[in-house]
C-alpha cells in the first residue's frame, strides 16, 4: 500500500466536517470494494475516512411500519436480525446470500448501495421494496438513488446514514450466481405492496440495476408466476454478455428468476 491519511471520526458531525475539509478523501464503510481497488492502485485517495466509529450509523430498528437500517449495518447483521427476519424474511435471505461469510461480516448496506455495483444484490432488493435512502443532507427514493452502473445520485461529500424499508410487502429475491465469481449473473427482486409491484433486475443490465416494467404490469393484475407466461423477456440488446452468459441467456434467466422470486414472495 502507499501512504494515505486515515481518519476515524466518532460522530456524524465529525465525519461531515472531515469530508468537507479533505478534497479527494474516500469514505470507508466495510471496505469490500474500496480496499481491493486501493490495493490494485485503481483508487489512490490521499485520505480515508472510516465510518466504523460512528454510532449513529449502526443498528436496525423498527419505526412504525418501517425498518430503519443504519448505513454501517453489515450484511450478516441484516441476515440474522430478528426484526428483519420477522418483518421481511426475503430481505434477510438476500443479505444472507451476499458473497461469503467474510464479505457478509465486513460489507455494509450503505457501502454496497453507494458503490452500486451492477452485480450487487441490495440495489435490486431496495428498488423492489420501495426503500428510501437517507443521507446527511436529504432523503431519496431508491428509484431516484440508483442512476446507472457504479453511479448514484450522491453528491460530493454526501454520506448515506440509513436506509428506510417499508414492511408489509410481499418480497423475494432470486439470483443465478456466476459459476466462477459467485456474484449475481442475474438477480431478480420482486416486491408487492398493495396493488403496486416492482420487479428489479441486477447483474444483467448493461447499465446496472433496472426495472422490468412489462412484468410489473402483468404481475399487478395477478400476482402469480403464471402471469409472466407470454410476457417477452427484457431485450438482449440492453443486457451484458460475457464468457459465462450471453445476453440471450441472461434475458432468459431474468424470466426464470422472476418467476422464482414471485413464487418465493407468495410462499407462506
Amino acid at each position: 500500500m502507499y501512504a494515505f491519511d486515515f481518519h476515524r471520526p466518532a460522530t456524524l458531525r465529525q465525519a461531515n466536517s472531515l469530508v468537507g475539509k479533505l478534497g479527494d478523501a474516500k469514505i470507508l464503510a466495510g471496505g469490500q470494494t474500496l480496499l481491493p481497488t486501493m490495493k490494485q492502485r485503481l483508487a489512490s485517495p490521499s485520505a480515508v475516512i472510516d465510518l466504523s466509529g460512528v454510532p449513529e450509523l449502526a443498528g436496525i430498528e423498527q419505526k412504525g411500519r418501517n425498518l430503519v437500517i443504519g448505513a454501517m449495518t453489515s450484511h450478516a447483521e441484516v441476515a440474522t436480525s430478528a426484526l428483519v427476519t420477522a418483518a421481511l424474511p426475503g430481505l434477510a435471505a438476500l443479505a444472507g446470500g451476499i458473497g461469503d461469510p467474510h464479505v457478509r461480516h465486513k460489507g455494509t448496506i450503505g457501502g454496497s448501495i453507494a458503490n452500486n455495483d451492477p452485480a450487487a444484490d441490495y440495489p435490486a432488493g431496495l428498488l423492489a421494496l420501495g426503500a428510501t435512502i437517507v443521507t446527511n443532507r436529504r432523503k431519496m427514493p431508491a428509484a431516484e438513488f440508483f442512476t446507472g452502473m457504479f453511479s448514484t445520485a450522491l453528491d460530493e461529500g454526501e454520506i448515506i446514514t440509513k436506509v428506510i424499508v417499508p414492511i408489509g410487502a410481499k418480497f423475494a429475491y432470486a439470483k443465478f450466481r456466476n459459476p466462477a465469481s459467485r456474484y449475481a449473473m442475474v438477480g431478480v427482486a420482486v416486491g408487492k405492496k398493495g396493488s403496486s409491484v416492482v420487479v428489479a433486475v441486477t447483474g444483467a443490465g448493461s447499465d446496472g440495476v433496472f426495472r422490468w416494467t412489462e412484468a410489473e404490469a402483468a404481475l399487478g393484475k395477478r400476482f402469480n408466476a403464471k402471469s409472466l407466461d407470454g410476457i417477452t423477456n427484457p431485450a438482449a440488446k440492453d443486457l451484458n454478455s460475457d464468457i459465462h452468459a450471453s445476453a440471450e441467456y441472461r434475458s432468459h434467466l431474468i424470466g426464470v428468476m422472476a418467476r422464482r422470486a414471485v413464487t418465493g414472495a407468495t410462499a407462506k
Binding site: 443465478f176 466462477a180 465469481s181 464468457i243 459465462h244 452468459a245 441467456y249 432468459h252 434467466l253 426464470v256
Partner: protein, 300 residues
C-alpha cells in the same frame, strides 16, 4: 535407506509428495516390514540437496514404482541385518529368522531386536571388518517390467434444470481395482480428489481466450474451479486383484477419478439431453443451449 544406530530409519525417495501422502504410506510399508513404530521412519523427498535423483510424482506410479524400489532396499537391509544378527546371536546366517522386528535363531529362544542389530552394525564389536563391512545403509533403483492396469466403474447420476441449464450431481458411485492397497484412507482421498478434478473438467473449468489471444479466464473470478458445493458425497469402494508385475501387487490410483469422472459426467449429461451435441465444460449456458435443441427435436 539409512538405518540409524538407534534403529530409526530415514528413507530418501525420488518420488515427490505434494499431498499424495507418501510420508504416511511409504513409512507404513517400512515400519510394517521392519517391525518398528511408524514414527521411527522419516521419509525425505523433494530436496535435491539430499535426494540424489528424482523425477517427481506422475502417472499414478509412486506406489507401484517408488514403493517397489523401497521394497528392494528393504530386502537388502534385511539381508545385511541378518548377517549382523548372526554374529550377535552366534549362529549361522541361514538359521536367522526375522519377524515382528526381532531376529531369532531357528529352534531356540535366542533373539535380538532390530534396534540392537542396527547399533551392532555400526559399532562392529561382534565381527571384524574382514568378516563384514560395518554399517546399515542400502539403496535400490527400480524400473518397472510392465505398466499396471487398474480398472473400475464410476456411475454419475445427474439432474439438469431445464429452465437454467444447471447440472447437479445427485449421486456418485465408484468401484475401482487398485490391486493391493497399503493405506485405504489415502487411496480413497486420491479417488475423491480425482473425481473432483474430473467433474471440474466436465462441468466447470475452461481456459477461454479472446480473438487477440488475451486470456479471459485469468483469475478465479472467471475461471471456475470446482468447489465443495459443486460436488456430491462420493460413494467409493474397491475390489482387490493383485498386480502381477510388482512386488507389492500395487496398481496406480492417483488418476483414476480424473480419468473416469469426465466420461461419466458427460455420458450422464448427453443421456439426459438425448443428443451428444455438447462439449466440455458443460456450463449452465452450454447445457441450456443444448437442452433447447433437445426440446426442438422433441417437438418435431
Amino acid at each position: 535407506m539409512r538405518v540409524n544406530p538407534v534403529g530409526t530409519v530415514e528413507v530418501l525417495t525420488g518420488s515427490h509428495s505434494h499431498g499424495q501422502g507418501h510420508e504416511t504410506t511409504f513409512a507404513q510399508l517400512v515400519a510394517g516390514r521392519l517391525g518398528i513404530p511408524i514414527e521411527n521412519v522419516a521419509i525425505v523427498h523433494g530436496d535435491t540437496d539430499k535426494v540424489q535423483m528424482g523425477m517427481g510424482t506422475y502417472g499414478s506410479r509412486s506406489g507401484a514404482v517408488g514403493m517397489s524400489a523401497i521394497v528392494k532396499a528393504l530386502d537388502k537391509i534385511e539381508a545385511k541385518a541378518k548377517k549382523v544378527a548372526s554374529f550377535v546371536l552366534e549362529a549361522a546366517e541361514a538359521d536367522i529368522d526375522f519377524k515382528d522386528g526381532k531376529f531369532s535363531v531357528k529352534g531356540t529362544d535366542k533373539s535380538v531386536d532390530f534396534a540392537s542389530v542396527a547399533l551392532q552394525a555400526y559399532v562392529a564389536h561382534k565381527f571384524t571388518g574382514e568378516q563384514l563391512e560395518p554399517g546399515l545403509k542400502e539403496g535400490a533403483f527400480y524400473d518397472p517390467t510392465n505398466f499396471t492396469f487398474p480398472s473400475g466403474v464410476h456411475i454419475a447420476e445427474v439432474e439438469i434444470d431445464p429452465d437454467t441449464g444447471v447440472t447437479t450431481i445427485a449421486k456418485w458411485t465408484a468401484v475401482d481395482d487398485f490391486g493391493v492397497i497399503i493405506n485405504p484412507m489415502i487411496v480413497e482421498g486420491q479417488v475423491h480428489g480425482g473425481i473432483a478434478q474430473g467433474i471440474g473438467q466436465a462441468l466447470l473449468e475452461g481456459a477461454v481466450y479472446d480473438a487477440n489471444g488475451q486470456l479471459l479466464t485469468a483469475s478465479y473470478m472467471d475461471y471456475t474451479m470446482p468447489r465443495a458445493d459443486d460436488l456430491p458425497s462420493f460413494r467409493v469402494d474397491h475390489t482387490t486383484t493383485p498386480c502381477p508385475s510388482n512386488p507389492l501387487g500395487i496398481k496406480g490410483c492417483g488418476e483414476a477419478g480424473a480419468i473416469a469422472a469426465p466420461a461419466a459426467v458427460m455420458n450422464a449429461v448427453t443421456d439426459a439431453l438425448g443428443h451428444e451435441n455438447i462439449a466440455m465444460p458443460a456450463t449452465p449456458q452450454a447445457v441450456w443451449l443444448a437442452a433447447r435443441a433437445s426440446f426442438a427435436k422433441a417437438a418435431e
